[in-house]
């Protein structure tokens, strides 16, 4: 059985020695399909409501029921929400992984386990608490089918009492989780209370692992990246969305459907949108392209295998200049790979998706707030630049829960790009060319089908075409077209989100990363400064094409560490293609399918720097 932690690494500390309050990791090991998700959400939510910064990661198998699954909750008074490997509080409900899960614990950790597992004594630096979960659950319900579910809520009560989670916050989290279902609320609260009562009678409260109210989450929201992206798409005015189910992107479209149904019906109850579950990803992107061609703001969401299928249409969109938005919620691996594990392995493929000389605008959201923002931007860019725009998210960002400032309502109006209406055509006396660069920015004007003017129509094709959209095989026409497409890409360079740059006084070392790596890199910089006296500057890329900022940043540092979650250093390759000269670009690569964590970055940098500055 695989193990998600590693007992050989030393204990990680987020805060100074001794200060363990509001700084711990809870790991819940259960069996897929046993309904532990609600319990874990209640735990996480209650901690959040106590004002303690928190994050939750679901490490789940590609399976419906029976395989092991883990949920990790990290509470961090300093607000570090990236993955932390070492575990302080283990809740062990899965006989299949119990032994390995115990091995991964921090010295001094506690292990709360289903007494049937018999884990006590397997380590002497860990305190074991066997709990008769089924027996307690049996006191709440006599329904044998419900007992597993209830047992999961019992551990919530036990853990809460031991580490100091307030009961009132648990109750409000349960009410939220089961909103409108009074019976479920009652049953689950009863289970929690049984857990609390059992713990109070039989166990001792923890001193080392303790949570305590603070005030660091007020006004913040908790949301996953896919829901954030769906919200952004809705406020970005999406009108046609298509999808074919694939983990980890399905929840984006499912969230979108819910939001659209709630907020995007016209006064007469009719939908101002169409969502279609396509028969495959080729169809999904084909529909998006057809809809965008006819004027809709359209998008689809998928993951690696779907991206591969979309390849041919991506090229048509680029070459015939048709808007489209494609979200790639990356999972790991060539082929089917590990469908429920995260990665940043589609970067190279997406950047040049399709045959021939093809290049795409790609956005890299690094937070849930950017998922929201970039969802709107992507719809604008697709129409502004009349080309497919890809948004590269990943499973960790997309499916896990993140804290964030509330999202800001857009201040800019929706940008529909260059569209000639019948009135404008009349003014022009019907004289226009679909692929004519009249503005010198490489972006031509288009008309929409149905435009009521005899000169509005043109013929769209993925084969050779001239400025009037007529078929051509002339060498000079092809070269002209390709040069103009390049020019358009150059125009985009001036519009895409610039990188976020944080410079530190005197730093000779620069870090470059993108996407969901951000949280781990931020924390790593903090640890490098605190424990290794190493100052680093940091550039977080947010889009392709790269902006000028990249070149300047690289030039300003002696060594650059490019941190990414794939095997081949794909971002480093793209940077190399972009930059002149031969800068010292070193790769830090994390690609085991689990999210990047700060300690990995710290240790990699320290090892490559060749010395530990501070012991």
């Amino acid at each position: 059985m695989t193990n998600l932690s590693d007992s050989t690494v030393a204990e990680e500390r987020d805060s100074a020695a001794g200060e363990r309050t509001n700084d711990l990791t809870i790991h819940v090991a259960t069996v897929n399909g046993s309904g532990s998700q609600s319990s874990n959400n209640v735990l996480m939510r209650a901690i959040f409501q106590m004002g303690i910064p928190v994050s939750g990661k679901n490490l789940f198998p590609s399976n419906i029921a029976g395989l092991p699954t883990w949920f990790t909750i990290r509470a961090s008074s300093e607000g570090w929400t990236g993955r932390r490997r070492n575990v302080d509080v283990l809740v062990c409900m899965n006989p299949a992984t119990g032994a390995d899960d115990v091995k991964a614990l921090n010295p001094g950790a506690i292990c709360i386990f289903d007494d049937a597992l018999g884990l006590e004594g397997s380590r002497d630096d860990v305190t074991f608490y066997p709990i008769p979960f089924s027996k307690i659950a049996g006191e709440v319900t006599s329904d044998s089918r419900l007992r597993k579910l209830i047992a999961n809520m019992v551990y919530v009560g036990v853990v809460a009492w031991m580490i100091g989670i307030d009961r009132e916050e648990l109750v409000s989290a349960v009410e939220r989780q089961f909103s409108g279902k009074a019976k479920a609320v009652e049953l689950n609260v009863e289970a929690i209370d049984k857990g609390i009562a059992y713990a109070a009678d039989n166990l001792e409260p923890q001193v080392a692992h303790r949570l305590q109210r603070m005030d660091k989450t007020r006004g913040q929201i908790l949301i996953d990246g896919n829901s954030a992206a769906a919200l952004g798409a809705m406020f970005g005015g999406v009108t046609v969305a298509t999808w074919y189910p694939i983990t980890p992107s399905s929840s984006l479209c499912e969230a979108l459907i819910e939001y659209l149904k709630a907020y995007r019906l016209a006064d007469d109850g009719k939908a101002t949108f169409a969502v279609v579950q396509a028969e495959d990803e080729i169809s999904a992107i084909g529909m998006v392209i057809g809809a965008a061609w006819a004027g809709a703001r359209s998008m689809t969401a998928t993951s690696g295998p779907g991206i591969s299928l979309m390849t041919e249409f991506a090229g048509l969109g680029y070459f015939a200049e048709i808007p489209a938005v494609v979200w790639d919620i990356q999972r790991i691996g060539p082929s089917t790979g590990l469908p429920t594990r995260t990665s940043q392995g589609d970067l190279l493929q997406v950047a040049h998706l399709s045959h021939g000389d093809t290049e795409h605008i790609v956005l890299f959201p690094g937070s849930v707030a950017e998922c929201f923002e970039f969802a709107m931007k992507a719809l604008d860019f697709a129409e502004l630049f009349q080309t497919p725009v890809f948004v590269l998210s990943d499973l960790d960002l997309g499916m896990n829960s993140w804290m964030s400032e509330p999202f800001e309502y857009p201040t800019e109006p929706i940008n529909r790009g260059k569209v000639l209406t019948a009135e404008k055509l009349k003014e022009l006396g019907g004289k226009w060319g679909r692929y004519l660069d009249v503005d010198g920015d490489g972006i031509p004007w288009r008309t929409l089908p149905g435009t009521d003017h005899p000169d509005a129509a043109y013929f769209t094709r993925g084969s050779g075409h001239n400025e009037e959209a007529r078929y051509t095989e002339k060498p000079e026409d092809y070269v002209n077209l390709m040069e103009r497409l390049r020019k358009k890409f150059e125009t985009a360079r001036g519009h895409v989100p610039r990188p976020v740059i944080e410079r530190e006084e005197g730093a000779r070392v620069g870090l470059i990363a993108f996407g969901s790596s951000d949280v781990a890199v931020q924390e790593a910089r903090h640890v490098l400064r605190r424990d290794h006296d190493l100052a680093t500057s940091y550039l977080r890329l947010r889009a392709l094409p790269f902006t000028k900022d990249l070149e300047a940043f690289v030039a300003d540092h002696d060594r650059i560490y490019v941190i990414e979650q794939n095997r081949d250093g794909q971002l480093r390759s793209l940077i190399r293609l972009e930059l002149k000269g031969d800068p010292d670009l070193r790769s830090i690569l994390h690609f085991d399918g689990l999210p990047l964590y700060a300690r990995f970055v710290v240790e990699s940098v320290v090892a490559m720097e060749g010395e530990k500055r501070n012991g």
Binding site: A274, G286, M287, G295, A296, F407, P413, G450
Partner: protein
């Protein structure tokens, strides 16, 4: 090279109800082989849209890749056209009809495009009942890649180089009925009169109107060994029933005597009148249609005419419950919810 507008004489010179002449429906110059069945079909498309008085500006033309798929460039230049990728026109057309439900859509494909690489998309589009006319110009070969067999090639037919097809052909009409199409017809490129009446009925139909047209490839599939060549088609063409299409602006009462004529009302109020040659044939009966298609195959015949018609089927766009105006041009105040909506959602997430 053939001119796309052939024999448009007589009544076509006068203006139609929207004040246009047939010439306003013409397309670019065809680059297909002279005598290609596909050009004949383009001419009937021009005629049908002209006679139906559909404004070309309101039409969207779609195709995949192939000789047949080139033809949308050869009719109605005043309509937007989209030459998609091979076999994937259904998805593009689906998206476009969602974005603008007011478009009158017509797709032209080949048997390679529709029955091989694009079969999945075709069947799913039929299942969704996308509102459009979908024509397969069926010649049993891949014309554009120079004469390989397609999936509709008859068993035992022979290529010019002597290769014999050992596999049974797909019957696209039968497949269309199986997947729930509400309008299924088969025509022959050499029978313009029947073609134009079927096309007009198809244009008036609200839903997917599927027409499989035997359209001989004069260059690669018009020899003795082929079952889709002109001589063969002429000889074996069995006219199932005569079709007389009556648009609603010109109401004509036609008696439907059981066993002889079937009068079917279409969504826009126009009607199709079908004359049966056989007393027991009912175009409203899917089982009967399948039986007749199968029986014709065993008899080595091609059944032409409207094989199946269900005027009551709901099209995809009407099923989705979307607003009446085109989605693509809705204004910002309709497609961006107000700030209060975001505030509310944010408050719920706190």
């Amino acid at each position: 090279m053939a001119d796309s507008v052939l024999n448009l004489t007589g009544p076509v010179a006068k203006e139609n109800r929207v004040g246009l002449s047939a010439l306003d429906y013409k397309g670019g110059k065809s680059t297909l082989c002279a005598g290609c069945g596909h050009d004949a079909i383009s001419n009937q498309i021009i005629r049908a849209f002209y006679e139906m008085s559909v404004k070309p500006e309101s039409v969207a033309k779609f195709s995949g890749i192939g000789c047949s798929s080139k033809t949308p460039a050869y009719f109605m230049s005043r309509a937007h056209g989209f030459n998609a990728v091979h076999g994937r026109m259904p998805a593009v057309a689906t998206g476009a009809t969602l974005a603008n439900r007011k478009l009158v859509s017509i797709g032209v494909s080949g048997d390679g495009d529709s029955a091989s690489i694009g079969l999945g998309q075709l069947l799913h589009m039929i299942r969704r009942n996308i509102s459009m006319v979908y024509i397969v110009e069926n010649n049993g070969v891949y014309g554009l890649t120079k004469g390989q067999f397609s999936a509709t090639a008859d068993e035992g037919s022979q290529l010019k180089n002597g290769v014999i097809n050992d596999l049974p052909p797909m019957d696209l009409c039968a497949l269309a009925i199986t997947c729930g199409a509400g309008f299924v017809a088969r025509g022959f490129a050499g029978d313009p009169k029947q073609m134009v009446t079927m096309l007009k009925a198809a244009i008036a139909y609200d839903g997917l109107a599927f027409i499989d047209v035997i359209s001989p490839c004069v260059t690669f599939n018009n020899h003795e060994g082929s079952t889709k060549s002109y001589p063969y088609a002429k000889e074996h063409d069995e006219i199932l029933h005569q079709v007389g299409f009556v648009p609603s602006f010109e109401p004509i009462e036609i008696d439907y005597e059981p066993g002889e004529v079937r009068d079917v009302s279409l969504h826009d109020g126009s009607r199709v009148l079908l004359k049966k040659l056989e007393e027991d044939y009912d175009p409203g009966d899917a089982n009967q249609a399948m039986t007749r298609l199968h029986r014709a195959v065993s008899a080595g015949q091609m059944l032409t005419g409207i094989v199946y018609l269900d005027p009551a089927k709901k099209s995809f766009t009407s099923q989705l419950g979307i607003v009446d105006e085109p989605l693509g041009t809705l204004s910002q105040d309709v497609i961006r919810p107000p700030k209060e909506a975001l505030d509310q959602i944010m408050a719920e997430l706190m």
